[in-house]
């Protein structure tokens, strides 16, 4: 099996806090990988380590068969990222943001212009292309960050909560776009708290709990292991030991 991403004992510590505790990820090429976990589980930290924003404390990893300690710039040519903070200049327009990304990737003016127009139109940002990012809504920013990640035509996408704040129409379009991307041989590694979307899109799942990878593999296999009728939500809640329907003690709210 050819892998888009593999990690071996990946660990990240911040002082005394261990955010990612020796995880071994296996992401096949051409897969749609859902990386799940509660808030603070270490998902975004993992993506930051994998995309070179943070330096792992221990462990190693390969992306698209390349070693990031040797081929960091080559890897960055082949990946697209929607990071946690979206990675946007507040005082650039959408068109200028895409021009910046295109220039760094060495796209020709014609290619850049054609791709930028197509992406902005697809993501309903064409009319706001000349406005500053600082004037964008959260959803618009997310769409622009996705456009910037897609512009150079990457082979592997890292998407940190790509659907958060996106309207229903946009979300559906993006889901279809990502499904087509994977069908065309691309790989998507995404985090999301919307388990219905993950269940619908992803064929591979990894569950992170307090920095540790507690489950990983094809979604179908994980569900079969836990009992066929189980939903991803039930499986996830069982893995992170948070029983559904936990009794609330906030009695004063109902009175």
């Amino acid at each position: 099996m050819e892998l888009a991403l593999e990690t071996h004992g990946l660990r990240k510590e911040f002082g005394d806090v261990c955010a990612v505790d020796g995880i071994d990820l296996v992401v096949p090429r051409g897969s749609f990988y859902g990386f799940l976990g509660q808030n603070g589980a270490g998902k975004s930290t993992t993506i930051k380590c994998l995309t070179g924003l943070l330096r792992p404390t221990a462990g190693s990893f390969r992306i698209l068969g390349l070693d990031p300690t040797v081929d960091a710039v080559t890897i960055r040519r082949q990946i697209g990222v929607v990071p946690e903070d979206l990675g946007l200049f507040e005082r650039l327009t959408a068109a200028e943001t895409l021009a910046f990304v295109g220039q760094i990737h060495g796209l020709g003016r014609d290619v850049l212009d054609a791709r930028a127009r197509e992406l902005l139109a697809f993501l309903d940002l064409a009319r706001a292309a000349g406005e500053l990012v600082t004037d964008y809504s959260h959803g618009m920013r997310k769409k622009l960050a996705l456009a910037a990640a897609l512009l150079p035509g990457p082979r592997l996408l890292f998407l940190d909560e790509p659907f958060e704040g996106i309207d229903a129409v946009g979300s559906r379009k993006i889901r279809r776009l990502l499904a087509d991307f994977v069908a065309g041989g691309g790989t998507v590694f995404l985090t999301s708290h919307v388990l219905e979307i993950v269940e619908h899109l992803c064929d591979q799942v990894g569950v992170l709990h307090r920095g540790r990878l507690v489950a990983q593999g094809p979604l179908q296999v994980l569900r079969e292991a836990a009992g066929r009728s189980r939903t991803l939500e039930e499986l996830f809640l069982e893995l992170v030991a948070a029983p559904a329907g936990q009794a609330t003690t906030l009695d004063w709210l109902s009175g």
Binding site: K48, P83, Q103, G130, D135, A148
Partner: protein, 564 residues
């Protein structure tokens, strides 16, 4: 009101502590840098407290001396009016330049609480009392009446106390009105541009005032003797001066000393009226700010990616992209526009002062020389540019994340940043050149060229050092803020100040010795060109060193830039 006030004071205090505490996700250099960053404001605060107490002691002594008729009250009153005028100006400028610094109005959370807009405004207005410059004069305003009382003039003491409280109310309302009006203005970027321009020009005009007024008052003091001195001094001041709060306070004191409380009701009443008017302005601006959304597309913003993707001569496409982004983002911030616009009026002020009042400037009338004026403007422009050069990576905030995620080598990033800041500097220098040419057009072309080459060589040497400092001492600054929130690390600024002096010293020496003393402009230009070539030769390996310094600091830079 009191519980709200207590809650908001607590909130401010916790926010201050939170900003000092930092995060565990930082390396050792960053933790040290945070400690150093906290030391500078702490020392400033200590200095201000000491100076405030000293001023209070002086007010106590002065009050006693005047109250007991041991001294002529006129010099004391002139000093009081002068100090209070300066404090008024500083409070006004502080409020105008800091409207974007975490104001309560901007907090959505606070607006969702069951607090009326009016209450929010009153609390905000009262927090102006925490302005260090106001705290600086409070001991003096309270101890002057004590001194007068001890000196035996109870009536004047009552007047001084009432006038002091009224003046304090004016200052609080002035700070609040200026901050609220500034905030409302800056909600619209077009209006903000006009505001910035007016502010810079107004500030330049204002900086001329003390020298011009001081000179006129000095002349009148020399001419007049004995009785009638006060009238002559008053006549030498610009029209409208008597309505200034500091003047009204001085007038109340004078009347109190002469006639007791009965004679001082008019100036105290006028002070209260001014406070009321300023409060109304502040409340109106606050209401408008809450009702206004931030709007306005920038001029010249590209709506097409192809139009935005330009390549600068002598730079790689990657470095070009970084440089253009740096230029665009800089010119779209208030601070960036200030950097470009400020040196030109300063050249103008220097030029005017050197003609009108040569004895007021170090160097006297030498500043009537156009190329020298340009040189002064070039050095000032480098200082103004520090907010961009000395924190060039972290100031991009989320934009730095994008740059780190792209296949952008650190070398291209450093070169692009140096070129981008250089373009901002060139714009600032061009305006300073126009002003210098307008005010002192004389001098040979060789002189002008030598100064320009000298200015560019100074920047060339400074750029890699600035990149190194930015990599070592990053701060999550916001260049949309005009106050300290947009400043680089204090240590980086201090080092930058020294570096500007060091880098500017050789070109300055060439201009002064070869052009002015030896009067050999051609030799001067040749030497300057040689120095520029040497600067470039030194800058290239230094830029490579700066690029290598980013690697080990990459994680910390990303964390600092991404911190909220």
């Amino acid at each position: 009101m009191i519980p709200f006030l207590r809650a908001f004071v607590w909130l401010r205090w916790r926010l201050l502590l939170g900003s000092l505490r930092g995060s565990a996700r930082r390396d050792a250099l960053e933790r040290l840098s945070r400690i150093l960053a906290a030391i500078v404001p702490a020392l400033l605060l200590l200095g201000m407290v000491t100076a405030g107490l000293g001023l209070g002691a002086a007010a106590l002594g002065g009050g006693w001396a005047v109250g007991s008729r041991a001294v002529d009250p006129l010099p004391v009153l002139i000093a009081v009016r002068g100090i209070l005028f300066v404090v008024l100006v500083v409070v006004l400028l502080g409020a105008l330049t800091g409207p974007a610094q975490g104001a309560l109005t901007g907090s959505t959370r606070l607006r969702t609480l069951p607090v009326s807009d009016g209450m929010l405004h009153r609390v905000e207005a009262l927090t102006a009392l925490l302005d260090p410059w106001l705290l600086y004069v409070v001991p003096a305003l309270l101890l002057l009446p004590v001194g007068l009382l001890v000196g035996g003039n109870g009536g004047a003491a009552v007047v001084a106390l009432l006038a002091g409280l009224a003046l304090l109310a004016v200052m609080v309302c002035l700070a609040s009105a200026a901050a609220q009006a500034g905030r409302w203005f800056l909600r619209n970027r077009r209006r903000a541009e006009a505001f910035t321009l007016l502010f810079v020009l107004g500030l330049s005009a204002l900086s001329l005032l003390p020298a011009l007024i001081g000179d006129r008052v000095e002349r009148e003091l020399r001419r007049a003797e004995g009785a009638g001195r006060r009238a002559r001094i008053s006549r030498s001041l610009p029209r409208g001066t008597p309505a200034l709060p500091s003047e009204l306070y001085g007038r109340a004191l004078r009347q109190g000393l002469r006639h007791g409380p009965a004679g001082a009701w008019f100036p105290i009443g006028a002070l209260l009226l001014e406070a009321g008017l300023l409060y109304a302005v502040s409340a109106g601006a606050h209401r408008r700010t809450l009702a206004t959304v931030e709007v306005g597309a920038p001029r010249g913003a590209a709506a097409s990616a192809a139009a935005a993707a330009r390549r600068l001569p002598f730079l790689s496409p990657m470095a070009s992209a970084v440089a253009l982004t740096q230029l665009r983002t800089a010119l779209r911030t208030v601070r960036g526009r200030l950097v470009v616009l400020t040196p030109a009026p300063l050249v103008l002020v220097f030029g005017v002062l050197s003609r009108k009042l040569p004895h007021e400037l170090p160097g006297g009338g030498a500043w009537t020389d156009g190329p020298l004026l340009l040189g002064a403007g070039a050095v000032f422009a480098l200082y103004a540019l520090q907010s961009f050069t000395m924190n060039q990576f972290a100031a991009d905030r989320s934009g730095l994340t994008l740059q780190f995620l792209l296949p952008l080598p650190h070398g291209a990033l450093v070169v692009g940043k140096a070129a981008g800041c250089g373009l901002v500097y060139a714009a600032s220098l061009a305006l300073a050149l126009l002003c210098a040419l307008g005010i002192a057009p004389g001098g040979s072309l060789l002189d002008w060229t030598a100064v320009l080459v000298g200015a560019l060589s100074t920047y060339t040497l400074l750029a890699p050092c600035a990149a190194l400092l930015s990599a070592w001492l990053p701060v999550a600054s916001d260049l949309g803020k005009t106050g300290s929130g947009g400043n680089p690390h204090g240590l980086a600024m201090a080092a930058g100040t020294v570096l500007v002096l060091l880098a500017a010293a050789p070109p300055a020496a060439i201009v002064l010795v070869v052009h002015r003393v030896l009067d050999r402009p051609l030799l001067g230009l040749a030497l300057m060109a040689g120095w520029a070539a040497l600067s470039l030769a030194l800058a290239i390996p230094l830029l490579r060193l700066a690029a290598r310094a980013i690697g080990p600091r990459r994680e910390n830079l990303a964390l600092v830039a991404g911190s909220r």
